[in-house]
Subunit: 434 residues, 2 copies
Amino acid sequence: MMMANGEAVKLAIAGLGTVGAGVIALIEAQGALLTDRAGRGVQVTAVSARDRARDRGVDLSSFEWWDDPVAMAREADCDVVVELIGGSDGVAKAVCEAALDAGRHVVSANKALIAHHGTALAERAERTGAAFGFEAAVAGGVPIVKALREGLAGNRISRVHGILNGTCNYILTEMRETGRPFEDVLADAQALGYAEADPSFDVDGVDAAHKLAILSSLAFGVAVDFAGVHVEGIRRIAPLDLEFARELGFKIKLLGIAEKTAEGVSQRVHPTMVPVDAPIAAIEGVTNAVETEGDFVGSVVLQGAGAGGGPTASAVIADVLDVAAGRRAPIFGVPADALATAQSLPMSVHEGAYYVRLRVIDRPGVIADVTAVLRDQAVSMESIIQRGRDPEEPVDVVMTTHDTTEAAMQQVLAGIDALDAVVEPPTVIRIDRT
Amino acid sequence: MMMANGEAVKLAIAGLGTVGAGVIALIEAQGALLTDRAGRGVQVTAVSARDRARDRGVDLSSFEWWDDPVAMAREADCDVVVELIGGSDGVAKAVCEAALDAGRHVVSANKALIAHHGTALAERAERTGAAFGFEAAVAGGVPIVKALREGLAGNRISRVHGILNGTCNYILTEMRETGRPFEDVLADAQALGYAEADPSFDVDGVDAAHKLAILSSLAFGVAVDFAGVHVEGIRRIAPLDLEFARELGFKIKLLGIAEKTAEGVSQRVHPTMVPVDAPIAAIEGVTNAVETEGDFVGSVVLQGAGAGGGPTASAVIADVLDVAAGRRAPIFGVPADALATAQSLPMSVHEGAYYVRLRVIDRPGVIADVTAVLRDQAVSMESIIQRGRDPEEPVDVVMTTHDTTEAAMQQVLAGIDALDAVVEPPTVIRIDRT
């Protein structure tokens, strides 16, 4: 479904928040450049948002206004519907479905929607021959979707992992640099606009999990499986953990990690100890980074701004230019009916090393009791550090283990938590040296 | 020029070194995957190389053998000619020209050819409607060409810089870690296969300059201008410079840096002091990294293996899949006749800070004489370190300056070199804090 060369490609934009305004500003700023790039102009014809009166810093007067974005998606004079409403269901989904059913191309920045309904939307698009682009849904302006779908397409990818949520990375960076607790730094991040008023999608790891599910599908050629992602956030990370991490030669990052083996696909988002000299450890603040491992290309890393109006608009326009120039690739890298349904590996079969922080009453025999629990589950300890001495008072003890299974580790944690001398539930952080 | 869907895309490969063998191995290994990705198979039909008898670890028996690669490019049963011969002129150029003139698509890994003749080849391709891909020519398997041409196409790029030569980065990493001199480490790199028997293209910066000229064209939409690149290599870097760099908080990297301003385009390859905590400082060994600065997307970094059969084959296949799937973009991001001829800014107008190492006779008044030379050129000194004391014997003195112009700095260097107490020509390394 190539479109005629020469005539401008027409966009209808649903949702006029920071990203929508950024897309309009970009098109206004780079008109001639976009025409050179795509062989035709790019033009906004219609827009829809909740509040028509709000000042968005861009001139909307030349665009047709629609109160109903679904009607706009179906009926407006456009080639491409740009969905920037957000949310996994409701209006955003209805807009995309209406557009695709009408054979209109869709470009979306909506990670929740694609994580939950990506495969079904791809099938829907294929039925009418519409394009469905979502470069902006993962890692903001970083062109990782195109890299996996086209640039690295000659490889079997065995692993993709990265820092997928800038808010969490900002908070962890600040906590490490200032020693302040999670709640304080989160409040600052909210004041600075780096975190939402309701921060749970970010700090509980859900946003990173959405992006990881999309990356897994692109990397491994499997159906999008958000339900298969094990998700933990960063609320339980204490300044003390960041101190111990430093002492042990690690940084703590919220990583999304997806791996494909002969057994199936594992997907997990959790705080992770990474060696200070690992490339991913150098990514600080709101930056995102994605590392892939391909059988021919080896390791490739892409990094850049993971959010914000400008970077996300850049990614939206990349998809628009692909449509305008008639460049098409299978939506998840292979046709929807070729996407495999992979065995989703449960977290219990995960193997790796662990960091465990305990708060215990400092009395003779406690360490012996703790280490006996490990021995009983055949978990091998790598190191143990007791911070300070304070007889009959609580002190902090940190252990690291050699590689073991998550299942054994969960037994260990239950056993430790049941000890009288252990005064609060253990904090666990997985170690990843790869 | 879309090709019919379904029928396999046929390749004729000219040049069967490591990369050629890698391409054949990749196609053999990933047959079904490539078909899913491109909607059609990928098949080698013809090959040509100098020595038919050589064992390359891949089975060539099902391919048509051509002694004359130019005849193959013109006449073989193929859709795409893959040029892996190398060299800026001669046979490689003749192969590409013959193929493009015949309307055959060309995929090339030949950075020298594209740096010298890229614009003319793009015009040639446009005349017959052939595709001309060269993802493999820059940074091996890292999909930076596609990122600049498509993924970041909504941006005006103001700067692109990076570590573009793995051999130099390996040598500098080794020198820093072991304290050994350039010649020793180079000999090791040659033994390990990281450096050629004639290392001059790598260590004198020419290879990096080829890649930088290609990146500049893609980033800024200007004609490829290899002659406009200022080139310096790493032969003069001494272990002492790496020690001083460490003391001053820097690492030394051979960087390629291209910038576009209202005045024109500057392109330069030279050893550079970068802050130890800059992202680019973390790139060690044979890895390549490219950082771009776009007006909407901000900074984006791509990194990965810059050479080798597997990574380069991965990039070649990415281009082949684009052809197979009918995905086309202007060869340098915009049509050849829209490539601007930018003013090439000479090195003399460069502004920045400098590191200068001197070997001087340790006697009263020498430092005063040296600093007087700086004062006379209005160059402001940031720091000066004298290493050791040894009256009437040579000692090492290192200075860093605040920002100044290259023209002033060249005057300073001439003035210092003329002093009696200065016993060898100063070593100069530019400092880049961006």
